[in-house]
């Protein structure tokens, strides 16, 4: 990820875009902060927010035409927020004191302001603050121009005078009763001029005009046909106090740039009113009507109620649906920056490694993101970079990768075709986890499929998903290559799959290969049994890798219909489905987070769940959610028990794969295949509690057996004088395993087992 990519990703997240109210306000009053303060009864802060942006807070509060309301998301759910009324209440219920602004050091350049209306006064205010010498000419006998046209009960003269005086007192030289004629202009000395003369039609500089006699003015810079003369206010548009303030301020920016001889146009995006990219989802917002507003304005209590109606617009669509994005307390724009920084760290601790490795890469964020930002793709790409640059913590994915290596070891993997030939027309690829969870289903499923698909081969191995999820690009390519070599040798058979993660991997790496799901074969050939019954309500949990795989999603639903199973949809289903936490190897990086992910998914519906990914099933059932695999309905007997069963532990999963292999050899080649390793002869005795502890420590039964075999054959061990226990270690590869055991009869009683990765002088 380089700086450009970071910027692209940051820009894709719209969370920090301004809410529509502030974007449509031409001076960008932070309406969201203002309503938030009022809602909390903090009128003082609300007033501060207002006066920070507007030099005439009370004039604006009493006269603003509220362009903010046009785009208010509250509009359709009870009515737009009464922002001006809330501003006025903030003034009335605070000290409404405005501190004198800091003036920059004096600059000699002189600025002439013609017209003492709101735009001219704003320009004068902004330029005096910047240290310029400002002279303001007004043809009437008082400043304020059009403001005096408002009825007194709306805008009292005292308010006009008070707020204008504060500006003038900063050091503006005011000349009232002075009309600036072409003749007078020739006698005045100035470096730049702002023309805010309203509709008076005076044109002392003889500037170019449009056919309708209005001045020719650049609407981005407010520059006229004479380079040092700028114009704005109601000579440009229908009278609006807030747009006059905006024009005066923006023209002052141009005048300052002109006088400093820098670009008038550079970096001036979103200066006036604009359309924001922020999108707020209001589909779940309850309607709340506007608090009625009377002429006298809101009481403090009513203002608070009205302000509470503000939706505090933001996006957060992805964070709302993703436990992972929620867990880290922020949102993608911040996360991509954090990830980028983490990659850039050279000497210090890289604190975001765990965060990067905890994403399930399920892609739900992209589904709900208004601009399709996919954090799964980001973390995937970043993991690949970490692996390439040797910055991936060695323990991060090691266990999953070793599990994959086990599945693809010649001892465990199997490729077999029926009959005498060496090729097949279709190849059943159940996937390593279905094989590990339910080895008994593999021959059954093969037989069902073979009844419809002649010359059906079988391949037991892992598709390579753990390598892909871990960012191990080379290992993934190599795993795919090994598969492809065999697939070519088998005569490019059509692949019959039972796992959507396998499908995802194959369609990414070998798009030329034809695939079909076992469920589609069942559907096409009427293989689903009929008249099945499940006594409780059943909701479909689509696996996350089935997102956008409509053919699989549909086949499962018609399969349920064919079997007579009543089912319903979860709120988040099909393309909006949620990951169970197994995806992206998140379960290894952050088990506590996966616990939350599972709880969220499990509590979405009171019904039992039906899924067609065995890891989803095992993880959900492991958290106490009764969940069936589609195959349970096809082949299972006691469905209640099947829905509640816990999945096998890691050691059992290894054994199951071996057992499935034996069964398939027996079924297709009609021979027995003894598969025992020498260490398997060490019969272990351990309590269920210890077995669960070893599961948490990611230590397999075979690891324990290897340690004992090593100790017993080499004598390399320690003896405890008090307990008589033996303690021994063995380091088959990177991890050192320790086992404390005693020999009891024919068995080896295990008292404890643990491991470490640190290496010790002396071999451990």
């Amino acid at each position: 990820m380089d700086q450009t990519r970071l910027r692209e990703l940051e820009d894709q997240c719209i969370q920090e875009c301004a809410p529509p109210c502030a974007a449509h306000c031409p001076v960008h009053v932070d309406v969201r902060a203002l309503t938030s303060a009022v809602a909390g009864g903090d009128f003082q802060s609300a007033f501060k927010t207002l006066s920070k942006t507007i030099p005439f807070p009370e004039i604006i509060a009493r006269t603003c035409d509220q362009p903010c309301q046009a785009a208010c998301y509250r509009k359709t759910v009870g009515g737009d927020i009464q922002v001006a009324a809330l501003e006025l209440t903030s003034i009335q219920h605070s000290d409404h004191l405005i501190a004198k602004p800091m003036l920059l050091p004096r600059r000699d350049a002189r600025v002439l302001i013609i017209g003492g209306g709101l735009s001219g006064l704003t320009a004068a205010f902004e330029l005096v603050k910047k240290g310029y010498q400002v002279a303001l000419y007004e043809r009437e006998n008082r400043l304020g121009g059009r403001l005096w046209n408002y009825p007194e009960d709306q805008l009292h003269g005292d308010v006009i005078q008070r707020e204008i005086e504060r500006i003038v007192d900063l050091g503006v030289k005011v000349h009232t009763n002075t009309e600036v004629t072409p003749l007078l202009v020739t006698t005045l000395q100035f470096d730049a001029c702002y023309l805010g003369t309203g509709n008076s039609a005076s044109n002392p500089f003889n500037l170019l005009t449009n056919p309708d006699h209005t001045l020719q003015v650049n609407m981005d810079t407010f520059q006229t046909s004479q380079a040092n003369v700028f114009a704005g206010g109601s000579l440009l548009h229908t009278p609006s106090t807030i747009f006059s303030v905006s024009d005066g301020r923006r023209a002052a920016i141009s005048i300052d740039r002109f006088l400093q001889n820098v670009s008038l146009t550079a970096s001036r995006v979103n200066e006036g009113a604009y359309d924001t990219r922020l999108i707020t989802n209001i589909s779940k917002v309850e309607k709340v009507e506007t608090i009625p507003l009377f002429k006298a304005g809101y009481s403090a209590k009513d203002a608070i109620e009205e302000a509470k109606r503000c939706l505090q617009c933001d996006c957060m669509e992805c964070v709302k649906v993703c436990e992972y994005l929620k867990h880290y307390g922020s949102y993608p724009r911040k996360y991509v920056r954090e990830i980028y920084n983490n990659l850039s760290i050279i000497m210090r601790t890289r604190t975001s490694n765990k965060m990067i490795n905890s994403c399930t890469q399920c892609g739900l964020c992209a589904e709900v993101c208004p601009s399709d930002l996919n954090m799964g793709e980001v973390t995937h790409e970043v993991r690949q970079t970490m692996v390439k640059t040797n910055k991936m913590p060695p323990s991060a994915h090691d266990f999953a990768l070793r599990d994959m290596a086990f599945s693809n070891d010649p001892r465990v993997a199997l490729t077999l075709v029926p009959g005498e030939g060496s090729t097949c027309d279709a190849l059943f690829f159940p996937g390593c986890q279905l094989t590990a969870s339910n080895p008994e289903y593999i021959p059954q499923l093969y037989q069902s499929l073979a009844s419809a698909l002649p010359n059906l081969g079988v391949m037991l191995r892992c598709c390579g998903a753990p390598a892909d999820w871990s960012g191990e690009e080379n290992l993934f390519t190599q795993t795919m290559q090994e598969f492809k070599t065999q697939w070519l040798a088998l005569g490019k058979p059509k692949l019959v799959l039972a796992c959507t993660s396998c499908l995802r991997m194959f369609s990414t790496a070998l798009p030329e290969m034809e695939t079909i799901s076992a469920w589609q074969v069942f559907e096409e050939h009427n293989l689903f049994p009929t008249g099945r019954q499940y006594t409780r309500p059943l909701a479909i949990h689509d696996p996350c890798t089935s997102r956008h795989v409509e053919a699989w999603q549909d086949a499962v639903r018609s399969g349920l219909d064919a079997m007579g199973i009543v089912h319903h949809e979860l709120e988040m289903s099909r393309d909006l489905t949620e990951c169970c936490g197994y995806g992206g190897v998140a379960w290894l990086a952050h088990p506590e987070l996966v616990h939350d992910i599972l709880n969220r998914r499990a509590s979405e519906d009171n019904a039992d769940y039906l899924t067609y990914c065995v890891m989803c099933r095992d993880l959900l059932a492991g958290k106490g959610k009764s969940t069936l695999h589609l195959l349970d309905l096809v082949y299972g007997k006691d469905l209640d028990q099947l829905a509640r069963r816990k999945g096998p532990d890691y050691s059992q999963r290894h054994e199951n794969r071996l057992r499935a292999k034996q069964k398939m050899i027996k079924l297709i080649a009609e021979r027995d295949q003894p598969m025992t390793e020498s260490y398997e002869s060490y019969m272990l005795l351990l309590t269920p509690e210890l077995r669960a502890t070893l599961e948490d420590r990611l230590i397999l039964i075979e690891d324990v057996q290897k340690v004992i075999e090593h100790a017993e054959t080499t004598g390399e061990s320690f003896k405890n004088q008090q307990t008589g226990h033996t303690l021994a270690f063995y380091k088959p590869n990177l991890i050192t395993y320790w086992v404390e055991y005693s020999h009891e009869g024919d068995t080896w009683k295990v008292h404890n087992a643990y491991s470490h990765r640190m290496e010790l002088e002396g071999g451990a």
Partner: protein
């Protein structure tokens, strides 16, 4: 890397290979290219160190994680 339980283990363990009582000695432990000395029970003859469970599951794991994020 401190090892408070070392004293309590002393005198309990003998080497399965040569039978001698384990003694406290400084052993170098290393991970990902960095190393530290740590006091452990060691067989002086066979040079094999004993890593107690508390150390492997406690301090060692902590340091491993720390070094992996460096």
């Amino acid at each position: 890397m401190s090892n408070p339980s070392l004293e309590s283990l002393k005198g309990q363990w003998t080497c399965g290979k040569c039978g001698s009582l384990l003694e406290v000695a400084s052993v170098n432990v290393s991970y990902l290219g960095s190393g530290y000395p740590v006091d452990l029970l060691v067989c002086k003859n066979c040079k094999r160190p004993l890593v107690p469970a508390e150390l492997a599951l406690g301090k060692m794991l902590e340091v491993e994680k720390l070094m992996e994020d460096k």
